[in-house]
Structures are given as C-alpha cells and as structure tokens.
Amino acid sequence: MIYHNLLFVLAIVFAMWAVMARRLLTSAVMLALLSVCVSLIFFNLGAPWAGVFELSVCAGLITVLFIGAVSLIRHEDEAHPENRARFYALPLAAAIFAIAGWYYLPPFFEELAAWRRMASGSPAIGLALWDLRRPDLLGQILMLAAGVFVIKSVFPRRTEK
C-alpha cells in the first residue's frame, strides 16, 4: 500500500519536473521516468502486459522521438526561451487543486466505485487479445499505417524545380 502510493507520488513529482524543467531535454528524460513509474504501477496492479508495453513503447520509443525532435529545435529554444513565470506557479496551482479536491473528489470516487459491476470470470490474456479482440489488432495496424501516411504527407518529396 505504501509502495503503491509512493509510486503515484513519484509519478506526480516527475510530471511536475517535466513541466517545470527549463531545458526541453530534461523534460523528455523526466517524461521517460514518469513512464517507468506508470509501468511499475501497472505491474503492481497485476497488469504485466500493459506494463511491458508501457515500458518498451512509451519509455523507449516516445523518448527517442522526443529527444530527436528536441535536438533539432534546441538552439532556437535556448535563444528565445519562454516566459517561465507561469511554470513556476505550477506547484502553487497544483497545491490549491490538491487541497480543494481533497474535500470533493474522494467522496465522488467512492460513490463511483459503489456502482461497479464485477466481471464474471476473465479469460486468459492470450484469448482476450488474439481471439476476442481480433478486430482491435486490425485497427492498430491501420492506425500505424495512418501514422506512416501522416509523416509521408507532412514531408513530401520535392518535385518542383
């Protein structure tokens, strides 16, 4: 229980660090650490498949994409930095939200949890993923093809002389 809440608090700390960091590279690395925390929470909640995907794709692939893009625009960002005052106000805003939410959100979530309907026995992950949700896999392949198509259309081959 303490380990579980500690992982959540660590995830929030890394998220705040990612938002408040002055350098974009630090933000990207903190985002990767946030992903690692989230994947550890998945393992802790008994969802190892989701944890593995989160760790490999979100903490790995997306971080590589971010670092590649940030290294392209880093000089411009350091030459003309944004106004930092709004980011330094984030801990204050988050604290106000946390204190105000402490009185209203947990009772609402308790009520939400009372409406739950328990599942009647869940199948194995292989059955759920490969048999019952097979159209999802087709959708994922189409989604990846759409991503490739977007990048192809954003960077067309130059044909004009």
């Binding site: 938002v19 402490w102 993923l129 019952l132």
Partner: protein, 101 residues
Amino acid sequence: MSVFAMDWYLIALLIFIGFYCMLASRSIVRQLIGLEIVSKGAMLTVISAGALTANIVFAQALLITMIVIEVVVVAAGLALLVKNFRVHGTADIWKLDGLKG
C-alpha cells in the same frame, strides 16, 4: 478512504498537471508533453478501473490499443513540429497556421 478513491485522487492531480502544461505553454513540444501526461493519467484510470472490477484482462487489451494510438499521435505532432520549424524557424504554436496550403 478506499484504495480506488486514493488512486483516482492522485490520478486527478496528474491530469491537472498535464492540462496546466498545455494551457501555460505555447511551445509545441510542451503541448505534446502535457498531452503525454494526460494520456498517462487516462491509462492509469483504465487499469485502475479494470483492477476494481476484476476485469484487468480486457483493460490490458484496451490499453495496448491506447498505447499504439498515443505513439501515432506523438509521431504526427512531432512531424508537424519539425515541418513548422523548417518553414518558420520557430516552435511557437501560434505560427502553425502558416502551414496552411
């Protein structure tokens, strides 16, 4: 307080941080970082609800789809960022309308 309510309270805080980042910044990279944080919160809610109703297998299958969609969205957003940077030399979100054909 139950574990579920405490989890969702902390997830609400995480999502607030992501939305604040998206509201406060004009840089495209920080917009995408905010979007990533919000989507992490959404994934945690899906898995937490799956654990609550003893239905974690379907929650995992749904989450794998969410992760794939997230990767595609981030890749498309970063491609727009690089294109915008090549055309205008800036990562400002207000300059994105200069890309219109």
